[in-house]
C-alpha cells in the first residue's frame, strides 16, 4: 500500500503522520518507502491509495484556516483523485482544508472559548462501516488529543440532518465517565451536534479535529488513534 502526505508551507504534523503511517503500513517507523511526501506546489502525484492532509498552520492560517492551501496547485489533483474514489484523510488543519476545498460539507470556526485548546478528549465512533473506522466498533469511545484554535464544526441545520441520515458523522465528542468532565468541557470547541469528524457522502473522505497520530504509540499514553490507520491499511492494502 502507498500513502501520500501533502506538505503545505506551515504544515507541522506531516512528519508525525508519516511516522504513524509507516508503522501502520510497514510495521516499522523507519520504513518510509510506503509514504510519499508531496509538495503543495506540485500539480501531479504518483499513484497512491491514500492521501493525507496533515495538521499545522498552513499559510499561517492567514485569511481563514485552510483557505489558501485549498487553492494550492496540488489540491486540484487531490480533488480529482477524491472524485475517482481514492481515500482522503484530513486531520485538524487538513480537515479545515478539506472543507475549504469543498470535499467535505460545513466549516470550522474559531473555538467557542476563543482560545487554543490542547488536551485529550473522548470521542465516540458513530459509524464503523467505513475504510477509516472498520477496526473500531460503533459506539466505542476513544481517547485522542486535540490541539487547535479553529475547531468549531458548523453546518446549517438542514444539511446537518441530511448528513445524519446518510451516516456522515464519523466521531462525536462525548463525556468521559471517569473524569466526569462537564458536557461543556467534553466538547472542546462548541461544535454543532458535538461533531469531531465527518465523512463525505461516499465515506471515502474523512476530516477530523483530533490527532490519531498522537495516540498511536505506547509512549503517547494511549493508542486509540492507531486503529484508524490500521483500518485504512486493512481496507486499502
Amino acid at each position: 500500500m502507498k500513502a501520500s502526505v501533502i506538505v503545505f508551507p506551515g504544515s507541522n504534523c506531516d512528519r508525525d503522520v508519516q511516522v504513524a503511517l509507516a508503522a501502520a503500513i510497514g510495521g516499522r517507523t523507519d520504513n518510509n518507502d510506503c509514504v510519499d511526501m508531496v509538495w503543495h506546489g506540485d500539480s501531479e502525484m504518483a499513484k497512491t491509495d491514500l492521501i493525507v492532509l496533515p495538521g499545522g498552520f498552513s499559510y499561517g492560517d492567514y485569511l481563514r484556516s485552510g483557505a489558501m492551501s485549498a487553492r494550492s496547485p496540488i489540491m486540484r489533483e487531490v480533488v480529482a483523485r477524491a472524485e475517482q474514489g481514492v481515500a482522503v484523510l484530513g486531520i485538524c488543519n487538513g480537515f479545515q482544508v478539506l472543507t475549504e476545498a469543498g470535499l467535505l460539507p460545513g466549516a470550522l470556526l474559531p473555538n467557542a472559548g476563543l482560545k487554543f485548546v490542547c488536551r485529550d478528549v473522548q470521542v465516540r465512533v458513530e459509524n464503523s462501516q467505513t475504510p477509516f473506522t472498520n477496526a473500531y466498533e460503533a459506539g466505542q469511545t476513544l481517547r485522542i488529543p486535540v490541539a487547535h484554535h479553529d475547531g468549531q464544526y458548523f453546518v446549517e441545520a438542514d444539511e446537518l440532518s441530511a448528513m445524519q441520515e446518510r451516516d456522515q458523522i464519523a466521531f462525536r465528542y462525548c463525556q468521559d465517565e471517569k473524569t466526569g468532565d462537564s458536557s461543556r468541557r467534553a466538547n472542546p470547541n462548541g461544535s454543532v451536534d458535538d461533531i469531531a469528524g465527518v465523512f463525505n457522502k461516499r465515506k471515502t473522505v474523512l476530516g477530523l479535529m483530533p490527532h490519531p497520530e498522537r495516540a498511536a504509540d505506547a509512549i503517547h499514553g494511549g493508542t486509540d488513534g492507531q486503529a484508524l490507520l490500521s483500518s485504512l491499511v486493512s481496507a486499502l492494502a
Binding site: 508551507p9 507541522n12 508525525d16 499561517g60 492567514y62 487554543f116 488536551r119 490541539a147
Partner: protein
C-alpha cells in the same frame, strides 16, 4: 537617562540623516544625542578613541546597541566568568547562540533560555511571541531541530489591575508562536508576586536536537565569501529594542510600544525548514540569527569571532518600506531574519532552497580582510568601524555591591488552621493552584514525542526515532533569593537537578536567565553577586555546568525592583525511556515513602506567606552533598526499574506534594506523621516522595539506610480520599475541584 522613545528620537534625527549620509558630512554629535543613546560621557570618549574621529549618527547608533547592557553584559560579565561551564560532555559552552551538549549515540542537545521581559510588559502578546521566536532561532541557527519549548513566567499580584491582561496576553503569545511553528511547549512555571507588578518576567527556553558532528557556528571566515541575508524583510519595527531592555521603566513606558517587535511564526516555521534544508548541504561557513540589535549585532559578532571584517551593501538588504535610512536598517529588530556566510559559488544552490520556501534571499555583502565593519549606500560609505575594538573595548564594570543583610531568625509560628484546611487553602490559592488553564493553550503534543506532559516535575520528550529521552525542567524560588541570594541561587539549581532526577534522568547541563533590578544600585548588585555565587557552587558540586544564558537587568519601575530571579533551565538524559518515573500514584496499597530529612523549615515558605502573610526568616538550607546523595539514590531506584512513582518536594512542602500525587493518579492516600505545620508544610530541601508495592518497601528502606539516606514510610495508597492522622478524610474530587478552579475563575473576570 532622559526619557526617550524611538519615535521621538527618529523624528528628531531625520533632518540630520540625508539619504546616503557620507562620513565627510559635517555633523556634530550633541551631548543630548549621546544621552539619548544610553551612553555615558566616558563611554563616548572611548568611542572617540576607537574611531579616531567623531562618529556619525549611524555609527553612534551601532555603538549604542553593541554597548547596551543587553548586548555587552557590561555589568555582569565580570561575575559570569566565575561560573563553571565545562564538562567532558559539553561540546560548546556560553558565547555562541546556544549551549551544546553531547547526549550520546551521535546526538547533541542544543538549548538556551532567554528573557523578553521589557517588551512583554509593554505589549504582552507580541512581546511573549517574539521571545519564543528569538530563542527558537538561537537554537536552530546552530543546526538543531527544535524539539521542546519551556517557559518561566512571573506576573504581579493577582489583585493588580494589569495582571489579568498581562497573563492573558503573554500566554496567548507564547502559545500563538510555539503552536504555529509546531514545537511542543512541554512545561514551565507561572508565579505571582507584587514585586513584578511593574515588570513581569517572560523567560523562554528552547531545546533542540542535532547530529553531534553537524553543529553550526557563527565565526565568519574566508575573505571574499558572500554574506547572505535570508528570512523576512527589514522594517522599522523594534528599533532600539536592546537599548530599551537596558533601562528602567517610568511613566513614559507606554510610549515605548513602537520599540516592540512583531512576530510572524509562519515565516519562522518556513525559516526553520529552509535553514535545516540548507544545513544538510555543504554550503554554510557560518550562520547567525538576527536578534537583539538586528543586523548590527549579528554582523559584528560574526566578524569578531572570525577575526575578519565585513562589508555590507545596505541597498541590497530586503526592506519592507521605502526610504529607510542606514540608521534604521542597521538598528531594526524585525523578526525572522538570519545572516549566513556561504562557501563561494554556492549562492545559487542556497537561493533555490529559500525560493522554494518563499523567503527573501539576498547577497548583502562579503567577508573582508580589513578588520572593519563597513556599510555602503549608493556606493557611498555610511559607516566604517573597526570590529575588534567595537567588541573588545566595550565597557566592563565591576559595579559596587553590598552583601544582603542576613534575615532575622523566624519567630514562633502558630498554625492558623487545621492542616487539611491549610492544604485546601494552599492548593486552591494563587501560588499552588493548577496551571492547566495555561498549558492547555500550548500545543504540548505536536511532534508526537511528548512522553510526560506539563504538570509533572520535569517534562520528558523522546529523542526522535530512539528509545531514549530528554528530561527538561525550569525553576527558581525568588522569595528565597530575596531573603538569602546565595542560598537562593544554589536552590534554583538544585531544584532543577531534583526535578530531572525525580523522573529518573541523569542531569547534564543548565542554562540560566538572570533577571534582576538596576545593577547601579549596590544592594541590587549584591543580590546578583550572591545568586551567581550560589549558582556556581551548586553547578560545581552537582557536575551540572552552565552552557548558555542571558542576563536581564534594570527590571525596575519607579525605583521598585523585582525579586532577584535567576531562572534556571536544565536538561537530563534518560538512557532507557521506559525506566522513568511519574508523580501520579499508580496502584492501591503502595507504601508511601519520604526520602530526605525533615526538620520542618517554615522560613520563606508558601505556608507562612499565604496563610500568615509573613515573608520572614531564612531560606531553607541547601546542603549540596546531601542533595547529591539523596538524588543519586532516588535516580538509581528509578533507572533500575524498581520505582515508577516519584515526586520531589518543593513549594508548599510534603503535604502539597503528596496531594499532587494523589490527584494526578486519582488514588487516595492515608498519611501519618507528627502533628506539626513544619512537618507537613516546611520546605526542607533534598526530599522526594516515592510510592512502591508494599512487598518491596523493606528492601528499599534498608538500601537507603546503607546509603546513609534518611527514609521513612509515612503512609499507604488507596481509596478515593486523602486522610491525615486518622482525621476527617477529604475526597480527591473535592480537592481537585479547588485545585483546578482558581486560575480559570480568576481569568474569567478578565
Amino acid at each position: 537617562m532622559a526619557a526617550l522613545t524611538a519615535r521621538h528620537f527618529l523624528a528628531a534625527s531625520y533632518p540630520h540623516l540625508p539619504k546616503g549620509l557620507a562620513l565627510s558630512n559635517e555633523q556634530n554629535i550633541t551631548p543630548a544625542q549621546i544621552a539619548e543613546h544610553g551612553l555615558t560621557t566616558d563611554e563616548y570618549k572611548t568611542i572617540l578613541t576607537v574611531m579616531g574621529r567623531e562618529p556619525n549618527l549611524t555609527e553612534l547608533g551601532i555603538f549604542s546597541v553593541m554597548w547596551s547592557e543587553h548586548c555587552s553584559y557590561k555589568s555582569s560579565k565580570f561575575w559570569l566568568k566565575t561560573l563553571p561551564t565545562e564538562a567532558p560532555w559539553v561540546i560548546c559552552g556560553p558565547g555562541e547562540n546556544a549551549g551544546v551538549v553531547d547526549i550520546g549515540e551521535g546526538k547533541a542537545a542544543i538549548f538556551k533560555m532567554e528573557s523578553h521581559n521589557h517588551p512583554s510588559f509593554i505589549e504582552p502578546y507580541q512581546g511573549a511571541a517574539t521571545g519564543v521566536g528569538g530563542i527558537l532561532r538561537d537554537v536552530f541557527t546552530m543546526g538543531a531541530r527544535p524539539i521542546a519549548n519551556m517557559n518561566a513566567l512571573r506576573f504581579g499580584a493577582p489583585e493588580d489591575a494589569k495582571t489579568r491582561h498581562l497573563v492573558s496576553g503573554v500566554v496567548a503569545g507564547v502559545g500563538g508562536y510555539g503552536n504555529c511553528v509546531g514545537v511542543p511547549t512541554v512545561g514551565g512555571e507561572v508565579n505571582f508576586d507584587p514585586a513584578y507588578n511593574g515588570n513581569i518576567l517572560v523567560n523562554a527556553m528552547t531545546v533542540g536536537l542535532a547530529d553531534a558532528d553537524k553543529i553550526f557556528y557563527s565565526a565568519a571566515a574566508g575573505i571574499g565569501n558572500p554574506v547572505v541575508y535570508v528570512g523576512s524583510k527589514t522594517g522599522r519595527d523594534g528599533i532600539h529594542g536592546a537599548t530599551m531592555a537596558s533601562t528602567e521603566f517610568d511613566d513614559t513606558t507606554e510610549d515605548k510600544r513602537p520599540t516592540v517587535q512583531v512576530g510572524d511564526p509562519f515565516t519562522e516555521k518556513l525559516l526553520i525548514e529552509a535553514c535545516l534544508e540548507l544545513m544538510a548541504t555543504d554550503t554554510i561557513v557560518a550562520i547567525q540569527d538576527m536578534g537583539a540589535a538586528g543586523l548590527t549585532c549579528s554582523s559584528v559578532e560574526m566578524a569578531d569571532k572570525g577575526g575578519v571584517g565585513l562589508d555590507l551593501d545596505i541597498d541590497k538588504v530586503p526592506q519592507r518600506e521605502d526610504g529607510m535610512t542606514p540608521y534604521e536598517v542597521m538598528l531594526s529588530e524585525s523578526q525572522e531574519r538570519m545572516l549566513i556566510v556561504l562557501r563561494p559559488g554556492t549562492e545559487a544552490q542556497a537561493e533555490a532552497i529559500f525560493d522554494k520556501w518563499q523567503l527573501d534571499f539576498a547577497v548583502v555583502g562579503k567577508v573582508s580582510d580589513t578588520g572593519r565593519f563597513t556599510g555602503r549606500l549608493g556606493g557611498e560609505v555610511v559607516f566604517d568601524i573597526p570590529v575588534r575594538p567595537l567588541v573588545e573595548e566595550s565597557p566592563e564594570y565591576e559595579r559596587p555591591w553590598v552583601e544582603a543583610e542576613a534575615p532575622a531568625p523566624l519567630g514562633s509560628v502558630t498554625a492558623p488552621m487545621g492542616h487539611m484546611e491549610a492544604l485546601q487553602a494552599l492548593l486552591g490559592g494563587a501560588d499552588l493552584s493548577s496551571r492547566r488553564w495555561v498549558w492547555e493553550q500550548y500545543d504540548h503534543t505536536v511532534m508526537a514525542d511528548t512522553v510526560r506532559k506539563p504538570g509533572g516535575d520535569a517534562a520528558i520528550v523522546r529523542i526522535h526515532g530512539s528509545d531514549r529521552g530528554l528530561a527538561i525542567a525550569t525553576d527558581c524560588t525568588p522569595r528565597y533569593c530575596k531573603a538569602e541570594p546565595h542560598v537562593g541561587g544554589a536552590q534554583a539549581v538544585v531544584e532543577v537537578w531534583r526535578n530531572i532526577t525525580a523522573v529518573g534522568a541523569r542531569p547534564l547541563a543548565v542554562t540560566d536567565c538572570l533577571n534582576f533590578g538596576n545593577p547601579e544600585r549596590p544592594e541590587i548588585m549584591g543580590e546578583f553577586v550572591g545568586c551567581i555565587k550560589g549558582i556556581g557552587e551548586a553547578c560545581r558540586a552537582l557536575d551540572f555546568p552552565i552552557v548558555s544564558g542571558n542576563v536581564s537587568l534594570y527590571n525596575e519601575t519607579d525605583g521598585q525592583a523585582i525579586l532577584p530571579t535567576p531562572a534556571i533551565g536544565g536538561i537530563g538524559i534518560l538512557d532507557v525511556l521506559e525506566a522513568h518515573a511519574d508523580l501520579a500514584l499508580r496502584r492501591e496499597g503502595d507504601a508511601f515513602i519520604l526520602i530526605g530529612a525533615t526538620v520542618g523549615h517554615l522560613g520563606q515558605s508558601i505556608y507562612l506567606r499565604q496563610l500568615l502573610g509573613r515573608a520572614e526568616g531564612p531560606a531553607p538550607a541547601v546542603d549540596l552533598a546531601v542533595e547529591r546523595r539523596n538524588g543519586d539514590f532516588v535516580r538509581s531506584l528509578i533507572s533500575t526499574g524498581r520505582i515508577d512513582t516519584c515526586h520531589d518536594i518543593s513549594d508548599g512542602g510534603l503535604l502539597v506534594a503528596a496531594a499532587e500525587m494523589a490527584m494526578a493518579g486519582d488514588i487516595g492516600l492515608t498519611l501519618t506523621g507528627i502533628d506539626d505545620a513544619g512537618f507537613w508544610f516546611g520546605e526542607d530541601q533534598a526530599r522526594y516522595l516515592l510510592a512502591l508495592p508494599e512487598s518491596e518497601a523493606a528492601a528499599v528502606l534498608s538500601q537507603a539506610e546503607d546509603a546513609g539516606v534518611p527514609a521513612q514510610t509515612i503512609g499507604i495508597t488507596g481509596g478515593e480520599a486523602l486522610t491525615l492522622n486518622d482525621g476527617t478524610p477529604i475526597s480527591l474530587s473535592e480537592l481537585r475541584q479547588k485545585h483546578e478552579a482558581w486560575l480559570p475563575n480568576y481569568m474569567q473576570n478578565a
